[in-house]
């Protein structure tokens, strides 16, 4: 078990956006989180990844209690995430975007870096190469020096995943990775996600596209009104009456 979430709750004023949600993620597993709009999926993710601290509950990652830590501390602990909208460093080039994710990996000391000693420069060059390779592997090779803002939407979403991957995470949180994509872009994304999982990174994924969820995820957690209403394998979830009601009832 790489991630364990216990009784996670988040309250905004009088509203319980997330109420006592518990689940776990195993290594090399793809966990899907689904639920109608407003069910609290993104809020739960934000609480886990350090955007804001949870009101109640515990988050244990890789044996370490990370509840309520800041976003940068959680990133350093090994959780990476992307965002729902295209959140990138728009005025910077694609490779610059990815390089920012690498800083956790710097080994040379600050003084060596400031004085531009050969060791530091070599390390920088290594990271540049690794970034370029990562971009190539993810299919963004030809955009390496392009401005992030000039990329088409689908590629921007892939870029934001690249950035999260650069920090060498053990767990990757994806917030609606295929929303707004056409069929071929979606297929590309699915392949990428499978490859990430095969590389040994666990994945937590929020998604609305049911085909994608059913095909990709090993297990699924269903939220409604901030509470977990079901958990299990895709086949079980598909047949679950409460889940069906939650979705149909919303329409």
């Amino acid at each position: 078990m790489i991630l364990q979430v216990e009784e996670l709750s988040k309250q905004f004023g009088g509203v319980m956006a997330v109420d006592g949600v518990s689940f776990h993620v195993d290594k090399s597993e793809i966990l899907g989180i689904i639920g109608p709009n407003g069910a609290g999926k993104t809020t739960a993710i934000n609480a886990i990844s350090g955007f804001f601290p949870p009101s109640r509950g515990r988050v244990v990652f890789d044996g370490r209690d990370i509840t309520g830590l800041r976003a940068d501390q959680i990133s350093k602990a090994g959780i990476g995430r992307n965002f729902q909208a295209s959140v990138l460093f728009m005025p910077l080039a694609v490779i610059e975007n990815v390089l920012i994710g690498y800083h956790k990996c710097y080994r040379t000391s600050a003084w060596k870096r400031l004085f531009r000693l050969p060791a530091a420069l070599k390390e920088e060059e290594t990271f540049r190469q690794e970034s370029a390779e990562l971009l190539d592997r993810m299919g963004l090779g030809r955009f390496t020096y392009e401005l992030a803002s000039n990329l088409p939407y689908g590629h921007q979403r892939i870029l934001s995943i690249c950035m999260a991957l650069a920090s060498d995470p053990k767990l990757l949180i994806l917030d609606e990775p295929v929303t707004g994509m056409n069929e071929s872009e979606t297929q590309t994304m699915l392949q990428l996600i499978r490859r990430i999982r095969d590389d040994g990174i666990a994945i937590v994924m929020i998604e609305h596209n049911m085909d994608v969820v059913m095909n990709l995820c090993d297990r699924i957690v269903v939220l409604n009104y901030g509470r977990k209403i079901a958990e299990g394998h895709p086949k079980e979830i598909r047949a679950n009456e409460e889940v069906i009601e939650a979705y149909l009832g919303k329409e």
Binding site: G50, D72, S75, F89, I100, H103, A110, S167
Partner: protein, 339 residues
């Protein structure tokens, strides 16, 4: 070769600059050049903080802290200027560090207002302290004591020429510090924070820490320059470190171009300092023309003077891409494989 291009350019410029006193003897013009250097450095510190999203409206106050600290160290505690110079920088940095805990935790707008208040507070506080000379300030501050290098005659600070070289030396030091930080990881972190601090944080950047580094470093440099100014001018007056000084500093930064943290301030400072001199026709009309220049520049070149060069490089880039695209499509037609 490309990597060392700007280094060579900088060395050449410094070489030329150090020859200036051979041709320019008039203390008035040397003073002008020293003013340009000082203002450029202050504007550089403003940009350093701005890069992380911090708009400091109190830059001049830290400049003043360095100046007054140095005056106290030299005149009241009888330290040598050469000790007081780095000491003032450290003292100013320490003050900034202490203030950084409340200041930097605040959102951007609050930070700006609080630094503005600090700026005003400095003038009032010093003005009301008789130990520091009150509003009339302190005069007769000694020049830097002579530099004694073995086997060479001592270098005494008798004319603006020595002050000019010292200013140039400080400029070199500051530029080296700035480029070191900007090109290292710290600079990348600063840029990331300035563009999107939430994204930067989610990627593992400790936003608070890097903002504090920018703020303290910038303020330390302000203090360094303050110490130099106090002993160069031989007097300090609290009013010169007030809100209007900060506004001018910010104008030098903006005129040059905020995307160019080192070159921009030099250009902006040079322009604003030389222009009134060029317009020396009537002492009276000069400020009006300067004001007009400011308004026109900001209206037509809102990204600063150096944006003219950016425009040119953008055009050149586009033409190069066009050329490459044409060539590669020609190669494809001839059966060559695409990479």
């Amino acid at each position: 070769m490309k990597r060392y291009g700007s280094l060579i350019g900088a060395i050449v410029t410094m070489g030329i600059a150090s020859l200036i006193p051979l041709f320019v003897r008039s203390p008035f013009y040397l003073d002008l050049l020293i003013t340009i250097v000082v203002n450029a450095i202050l504007a550089m510190t403003f940009l350093m903080m701005l890069r992380t999203g911090l708009v400091s409206l109190g830059v001049a106050a830290f400049w003043g802290v360095g100046a007054y600290a140095s005056v106290v160290l030299v005149t009241k505690l009888h330290l040598s200027f050469w000790l007081s110079l780095p000491a003032s920088a450290l003292i100013t940095a320490l003050v900034a560090l202490i203030l950084s805990y409340p200041l930097i935790r605040s959102p951007g707008f609050t930070f700006a207002i609080l630094t503005a208040v600090i700026g005003m507070l400095f003038t009032i506080a010093v003005g009301n302290t008789s130990y520091l000379g009150g509003y009339s300030g302190i005069a007769d501050i000694p020049h830097p004591d002579p530099i004694r290098i073995p086997f060479l005659p001592p270098i005494a600070f008798v004319s603006p020429t020595q002050d000019f070289y010292l200013a140039l030396f400080l400029l070199v030091v500051v530029v080296l510090i700035c480029t070191a930080f900007y090109s290292a990881w710290t600079g990348k972190a600063w840029t990331a924070i300035g563009v999107n601090f939430r994204l930067a944080e989610s990627l593992g950047v400790d936003v608070f820490r890097y903002k504090v580094i920018a703020f303290v470093l910038a303020s330390g440099i302000d203090g360094l320059v303050g110490s130099f100014c106090a002993h160069y001018q031989s007097f300090v007056v609290p009013d010169s470190y007030g809100m209007f000084a900060t506004i001018y500093i910010q104008v030098y930064a903006v005129l040059g171009g905020i995307g160019h943290p080192v070159l921009g301030p030099v250009i902006g400072s040079a322009l604003m300092t030389f222009f009134p001199e060029l317009m020396r026709t009537t002492r009276q009309v000069a400020p009006i023309l300067t004001g007009l220049l400011l308004v026109l520049l900001i209206m037509f070149l809102p990204k600063g003077l150096l944006s003219l060069f950016d425009w040119r490089t953008a055009v050149v880039e586009r033409l190069t891409k066009l050329r490459k695209a044409t060539v590669s499509s020609l190669l494809l037609k001839n059966g060559a494989r695409k990479r």
